[in-house]
Symmetry: C2
Subunit: 353 residues, 2 copies
């Protein structure tokens, strides 16, 4: 099914982009003076296929899962924090809840593979593939079937959200150990060295970082993920939340919904998704540059310039939420600013150029 | 009077900053993972003298004035655009109106010295010092008394807004020719060459830029502004809107209101304001880095790191408006996120560091 969804991804709508570009040039401001807001408005017009797109319905999909590789001692936090943070999301006390409220986005909390049973909650979407991945330092993190199941779940979740109304989606993640998996994916797909893509995650010191690098190198050696087969990479060194986000991205591109990628974990998912579906890249907006070093490598490989650089590295979708505000600013200025003619403002004397 | 206001500026409140810092370390996130949002929340706590400050009332003060130096052919737009854009502000069709609406800020539109009479409007504050400055390429832009009058007007406007409720203020400007004045101020105060601080303004080409540099160099040669006497700099090569913004900054610092500086014109005002009142620097937040080259020089001199870099150069307060959203995000996360204890989330094992 996911391959069919990929087949249905269409290119950007050039006519809508051209109409948006034309309108930008008539608004009461010097040409180009809104900088990246202008570019963004044109890109979203192309994604949505509308000359003046609006952001009414916004969602952050925050996917949680556990990682067997935590057994190797790669994280500062105990593994139960994944489940505890899911509870925090459901009670509205986490960073992503606060920022999503501010930007007017709903948070869709998904259990993709937390290692314990979570109590049912009206706001929790349960798509648990398994009770955490297996330890990738000793063998594949999941089977190929599990990887497929995670992607399909992501597509279905996106399509479910579409029915509630959706104009933009931000990706978010929670999972103790998931910068380790994301580093392995980023190294496997981009070909960069592990030392260059592995970072401090929640704040490990130099000694633990050296250990983390060795664990990731071992996972790559043991599993030999095939960069030409992105499903193989996801299965061998990925995570269930990462697979779910791959599905969200595929579904969003299929339905012409702009995807705001958050930090390093979302970046790793985007590396897999664009390897599966190169056209999907046009539907991605890089929300911010994370302080986690591998994110810069991922964005460079994706050819994306981040909107924000606030030295954040929290994940959960927090960078995406802030970026949605900027994207909304781009679309509001496109839609709501007066033109020179409407406002009776004289235009530039371009002969002086 | 403005000297008395300056005398009343107090330092940041260390106790409030320490309480905010302590709270940040207890919130459910890895230490430091909200990056600049954490720093910002602590800074605003110090400015406001509150451990958990809130942003309820927000204003952008957008000051407009004309510049006699336009007679030298330094701008792409005809001079009547200043007055026309003031009408656009009053009718809600300009970029700043759209972005201020989005962030929930009111726009205070002030005529500090537009060269024509403007029709009265319920939303227009008239503090016209004169019908535009004189041509600084041939002599002082204004008298010392006029410069003082502009600053005093700014302080009074800030204090008037305070009565309506004010928790943060953004600075904004409109004035054909005002990047020319701001370049002269920036060169005079920082000691950098005119060629390094003068930019393309609304979009002039190479030839007109070379001409603009020569005009500014002539203005500095003719007037010999004294960098040690910031009022002299303002009078000789400044503008009425720039003087007004100096007053707004002085008044805001006096009343412990964070000041979000917008682009290059606000940066020039901040150079003058901090030269008059060094303590005022602690109350400034650089909203964004403008694409206008001199802004980087000004921010470096002020020791400020901009929050946003979206290649904008519109002025009006647009960069400040977007930045207020980021500052609000900082304060909301500080106030609304759950602590580890409240959420029952395990803390990091710092022994692993």
């Amino acid at each position: 099914m996911y391959l069919e969804t990929i087949q249905e991804i269409k290119p950007l709508d050039e006519a809508a982009m051209s109409a948006a570009r034309q309108r930008q040039s008539n608004l009461t401001k010097p040409q180009g003076s809104l900088g990246r807001l202008e570019e963004l408005s044109i890109k979203v017009a192309g994604i949505r296929g509308q000359a003046i797109p609006r952001l009414e319905h916004k969602a952050i999909v925050t996917m949680a899962a556990d990682h067997g590789v935590v057994a190797e001692g790669v994280s500062l936090f105990p593994q139960e924090v994944t489940a505890q943070m899911v509870q925090n999301f459901l009670h509205g006390g986490a960073g992503i809840n606060v920022l999503a409220r501010q930007v007017g986005a709903r948070v869709v909390v998904v259990d993709m593979g937390v290692r314990t049973d979570l109590e049912p909650h009206s706001s929790l979407v349960s798509r648990k593939v398994a009770y955490g991945t297996r330890n990738m330092a000793r063998g594949p993190a999941m089977t190929r079937e599990e990887a497929l199941q995670a992607i399909e779940a992501g597509i279905e979740i996106l399509e479910g959200e579409l029915e509630k109304g959706l104009d933009i989606v931000g990706s978010g993640d929670m999972g103790v150990g998931n910068t380790t998996a994301s580093s392995a994916i980023t190294a496997a797909i981009t070909g960069e060295s592990v030392a260059k893509v592995a970072g401090r995650g929640t704040g490990i010191g130099d000694r633990q970082l050296r250990h983390k690098v060795k664990v990731i190198e071992r996972a790559l050696r043991v599993n030999q993920p095939d960069a030409a087969d992105p499903l193989d990479v996801l299965a061998k060194v990925g995570g269930f939340e990462i697979g779910g986000l791959v599905g969200v991205m595929i579904g969003a591109a299929r339905h012409r919904i702009p995807i705001v990628i958050d930090g390093f974990i979302s970046g790793a998912a985007a590396l897999i998704a664009t390897r599966m579906a190169p056209k999907l890249g046009d539907f991605l907006i890089a929300g911010h540059i994370s302080a986690e070093r591998g994110h810069r490598v991922a964005l460079k490989h994706l050819g994306l310039e981040p909107l924000l650089d606030l030295e954040m590295r929290l994940g959960e979708g927090t960078g995406a939420a802030l970026a949605i505000f900027i994207i909304e600013a781009a679309l509001r200025t496109l839609a709501e600013m007066a033109t020179f003619a409407e406002a009776g403002v004289a235009e530039a004397n371009n002969k002086l150029k």
